[in-house]
């Protein structure tokens, strides 16, 4: 570990991830590097297959063998993620229907995280975190099927938050939700970040969502970062790479001319 890294909460250097497949090895991530400052929200944007989620999973210790170097708060990460890492870094997944145990009450889902990390004062912590994500104690003994999609995503966020992490890894946290529910979850994430000083890494295909939450972002395509820029630059359309420009145009809705260009460029 060299000096100067302490200021960064996340540092990724030349990350490579290769998966085996029937047709031979697939390079899902090919030399990705970026840094995230403490308290910053950094976005990874790209289309399906761009490798954005794989980067997130490599950081969380969930991806297939990776190569390169990863740091968390100045300390280099090895192959194995220990319990201390999991307390500091928590992940929220896209689909709250799939990420909550269907036969666990909210209470049990939250208590399990506390038990794994041998934390006491469980009832008080559960009450506090349910308040924090805007659910309240009335939801404590409900099952996932008794909750709406937005409430489930709040439970998933509460489960991550109950360990008081410093970093949240968010994998498309609102793309399974209706737009009005998405607004509630985005507001919640903005508030939590301010109140807890959280650092966040957000994976999304939605430029508007990234623009709302993040300060900086990297645009990924076919396993590589094509461009890293600030949200301010994105907003102004001050982008360098034609791929980013295409994404920006496509996200503005249907335009016959833009669509013709995309078809012609294929």
């Amino acid at each position: 570990m060299s000096a100067g890294h302490e200021a960064e909460m996340i540092r990724v250097d030349d990350l490579h991830v290769r998966f085996a497949s029937a047709a031979g090895p697939v390079d899902a991530v090919k030399g990705v590097s970026f840094r995230v400052q403490p308290g910053e929200v950094f976005g990874l944007v790209g289309e399906s297959g761009s490798g954005k989620s794989t980067v997130l999973r490599a950081l969380a210790g969930l991806a297939a063998p990776w190569q390169g170097r990863l740091w968390l708060a100045g300390a280099e990460l090895g192959r194995h993620r220990d319990r201390a890492f999991c307390r500091r870094v928590q992940m929220v997944f896209q689909d709250p229907y799939g990420s909550l145990h269907p036969r666990f009450t909210v209470d049990r889902t939250l208590a399990e995280a506390l038990a794994i990390h041998r934390l006491d004062e469980r009832a008080a912590r559960i009450a506090r975190v349910l308040e924090d994500v805007g659910l309240g104690l009335a939801f404590r003994f409900r099952y996932p099927h008794q909750l709406s999609g937005g409430q489930r995503q709040r439970v998933a966020i509460a489960r991550a938050l109950i360990l008081q992490p410093q970093v949240l890894l968010l994998d498309e946290p609102t793309s399974a939700l209706d737009v009005s529910v998405q607004a509630e979850i985005l507001n919640l994430l903005v508030r939590l970040r301010a109140e807890h000083g959280l650092t966040m890494l957000l994976v999304s295909h939605n430029l508007a969502v990234v623009g709302h939450l993040c300060q900086r972002l990297a645009v990924m395509r076919q396993g590589e970062i094509v461009e890293t820029l600030t949200v301010e630059q994105l907003r102004r359309g001050a982008v360098d790479h034609p791929y980013t420009r295409g994404l920006l145009l496509a996200s503005r809705g249907y335009d016959r001319r833009v669509a013709e260009e995309l078809l012609a460029a294929e």
């Binding site: 737009v179 009005s180 607004a183 903005v190 969502v209 335009d255 669509a259 294929e266």
Partner: protein
């Protein structure tokens, strides 16, 4: 049938499902709409608003336990409610077709693209020779702007990307030139750039063949940019109807709330306005 007859005419469509306690759950509660040829009608709403059920009712593809009724459900002047299931089936595919969200579940995984297109065409026209069939398959793929129809015809669904799979679905559905096409979230599973390409292909179809298109989506901004006219559904009813270009000046608080809740890259705001639902919207649109 005169030219002024709407392609699709629905009046007070109701769809309900039995509940466990012996009662009924009303999913669609009196929807009326009309669609003209050459028209792209968007139906937007959140999950559970009844937009997909409305589309399925037209095709006669409601789940078995559903009960429906309508004062009028007419396709090109013909009352659909008077049809025997066999007659309704004869309309499907040839005259009215549906495209669903995810091509992965709509294509047969063990048949090549060419085989399943040929199967669909043979059903419509059993007398076709093999050669004519092959020609039709390639022409259908070319019509959805697939560059290399030969290769795609020989490919299996798992070998295609999502956008390509959806184009194959469209090729299959539109090859017979249906007068009515119902597309239920046809691009929601696709990347934004691919989404635009698929929309351009639907756009071609409406322009070239005069197909009437019902485009069902949860994405108000997309619908506003793609369709001619928009219906906003809420809790099984139509709350508001307007020209697509005027959607951003919509008056109903629900529509306004939905529009405001979506983050906008160009107009950033610290906190997104959250929709507060009014119980009266259910009863009094």
């Amino acid at each position: 049938m005169s030219d002024t007859t709407p392609l699709l005419d629905i009046a007070e469509l109701r769809i309900r499902f039995p509940t466990i306690d012996g009662g009924w759950s009303e999913a669609v509660r009196g929807v009326s709409l009309q669609l003209a040829r050459h028209e792209r009608l968007g139906i937007v709403g959140e999950s559970g608003s009844g937009k997909s059920l409305t589309g399925r009712a037209v095709l006669g593809l409601l789940p078995r336990q559903a009960q429906w009724s309508a004062r009028r459900l007419a396709f090109a002047g013909q009352a659909l409610s008077a049809l025997a299931p066999r007659q309704w089936r004869a309309l499907r595919g040839r005259h009215m077709a549906m495209i669903l969200q995810d091509p992965k579940y709509s294509l047969n995984p063990v048949l090549s693209v060419g085989q399943q297109l040929a199967e669909a065409f043979r059903q419509r026209d059993p007398g076709l020779s093999r050669r004519a069939l092959r020609k039709q398959v390639l022409a259908a793929l070319a019509a959805v702007r697939i560059r290399d129809p030969q290769r795609v015809a020989g490919a299996y669904p798992h070998e295609l990307s999502g956008g390509m799979g959806q184009r194959v679905m469209i090729a299959m559905m539109v090859a017979s030139g249906p007068e009515l096409l119902i597309a239920d979230e046809p691009t929601s599973a696709l990347d934004v750039t691919v989404q635009l390409q698929v929309l351009a292909i639907l756009d071609d179809l409406v322009r070239a063949q005069g197909t009437g298109l019902i485009f069902i989506s949860h994405d108000l901004h997309l619908v506003a940019s793609f369709c001619d006219r928009v219906l906003v559904m809420y809790a099984g009813r139509v709350l508001e109807e307007c020209a697509a270009g005027e959607l951003h000046q919509a008056r109903h608080p629900y529509t306004r709330g939905l529009l405001a809740a979506a983050p906008d890259l160009e107009r950033p705001q610290l906190e997104l306005p959250v929709l507060s639902r009014d119980a009266r919207w259910r009863e009094d649109p």
